[in-house]
């Protein structure tokens, strides 16, 4: 039994309540900082976002950090989806070795902190493999989020009704053709929403790569705080930028979902 949708007036009341609540929260935060005798200097922040010189628009350290964060997130997303699909198929395969391997990887990655995985890959594995900082960060994030993505993809595949498999086999398709032409196209539409929230997690988790001296958004924030001590102003700004990135990501996916939808 779903709750009844609110009436027109009820909707407006809801919106008003929401705005009031947000304003009250913002007021509380500012009061709290003010009560501690913190001296706000918001006017010192814009120059770290961008400035204008004779040459025109100059991106500040925060925007440079956004570019690095987006590059890391983009590359990690590709790795995570590839790893996720591969591990999901391994878990569903009929062999003895593949599911066991997939299980081992999943349990290892999901039950240890990401920070430790990043340190392990960068300080222990990377010197052996001879890969750089950026590659270490992408590998660590891709493997970590890939573990979660694989479970989501597996659930999507399992949720396709048995009848679809039987119909595909009886029309003479092999295993791979069945996956490619019948099962995966249906599974993809089901897993897009949970995968989006995983991608949002990836954006936020990418902040941890600042610990291996990659100059992403968080690291740039740390450097600005260390140089100017504009602690609250800088971290609020950085948080707002992360919010903009994740909300736009969700909006893009929503749009794509509409394009992907099966008519009828």
């Amino acid at each position: 039994m779903l709750p009844r949708p609110p009436s027109k007036a009820g909707q407006w009341l809801g919106v008003a309540k929401f705005i009031l609540l947000v304003l009250a929260l913002a007021w509380l935060v500012l009061q709290g900082a003010g009560a501690q005798g913190y001296h706000w200097q918001w006017y010192r922040i814009p120059r770290y976002l961008f400035s204008f010189s004779e040459a025109g628009f100059v991106p500040g350290p925060l925007l440079q950090g956004v570019v690095v964060t987006l590059r890391i997130v983009g590359a990690s997303l590709v790795v995570a989806l590839a790893v996720g699909l591969l591990v999901a198929l391994m878990r569903l395969s009929g062999s003895l070795v593949a599911p066991a391997l997939a299980r081992l990887y999943l349990e290892l990655v999901r039950n240890t902190p990401l920070l430790i995985q990043i340190f392990f890959i960068y300080f222990v594995l990377a010197p052996m493999l001879g890969i750089g900082r950026f590659a270490s960060a992408v590998l660590a994030l891709g493997l970590f989020e890939g573990a979660y993505a694989s479970e989501i993809i597996r659930a999507g595949i399992v949720s396709v009704p048995r009848g679809q498999w039987e119909a595909a086999y009886s029309s003479g398709l092999g295993l791979w053709a069945t996956y490619r032409r019948v099962v995966l196209p249906q599974a993809v539409r089901r897993v897009v929403p949970p995968l989006t929230s995983q991608a949002v997690s990836l954006v936020k988790d990418s902040a941890l790569v600042s610990t291996i001296a990659i100059y992403d958004l968080t690291m740039q924030g740390q450097v600005i705080v260390a140089e100017t001590f504009l602690t609250f102003e800088t971290w609020f700004t950085v948080a707002a930028i992360y919010l903009v990135i994740t909300v736009s990501l969700s909006a893009v996916v929503k749009f794509l979902e509409g394009r992907l939808a099966i008519p009828g």
Binding site: G37, F123, T211, A213, V225, A226, E227, F229, T231
Partner: protein, 274 residues
Amino acid sequence: MRSFSRILLCLTLLVALTLPAAAADLRQELVKQSTLEQVLQRGVLRVGMSTFVPWAMKDKSGELIGFEIDVASRLAQDLGVKVEFVPTKWSGIIPALLTGKFDVIIGGMGILPERNLKVNFTIPYDHSGMSLVASKKLAAGFSALADFNREDVVVVARIGTTGVKAVQKYLPRATLRQFDDEAQAVQELLNGRAHAFVTSKPKPTFLALQHPDRLFLPLPDTFTREPIGFALRKGDVDTLNFFDNWIRVVEDEGWLQERRDYWFGSQQWESRVK
């Protein structure tokens, strides 16, 4: 008109008479509100610090020892209160002071103009200097600062330290890479991904002694000299005055020099840590 000027005169007199009283009230209020007064009432001096060998570190039994620990303990003893150490990440130590997590930073903090805009510093109770320790593999044959001032040289430092400032000033061409913790910065150097690590003396010397096969000291001595002071919140003249004069007293006593000799001039304390 005459009544008006009379009222004005009365008012002027009233204001003139109450002003000194108001100022006296304000002074009393300031004295009452000072950190010093609050420490005495609480019976505990809360000291913000971060681990820097040998300023502050853990000994074998997990107790804090070091030059700063001695200074803060003696300060608390002279105030007649207990001392409580609040270990804080270096990059967040000033915000923690500003938001009242502790009363004073005694943690080998170099006096920098940028820092001084946000906090007040006492007179120096010590001087420190930056030196660097380099990787034998990458920086073989480097023997002067100029050797490190090249685009292809990577130098590591801890976020928010005067080491970062020193690199920006003396090695502007080198690539600076910053880490939040000393351990990670040192690991980067040991893994051969950076040419040198810039940090306060005597840490580079210790590192070179610990890893003689991989690290060495390219410079015989420090290349900067900086004053070290206690940091406290702004607008608190009483506490600042007390700390300044306490430093003068223990300096003239010779006690500070004796502590410096023990922690920085000798290796006697090594057995307490290992």
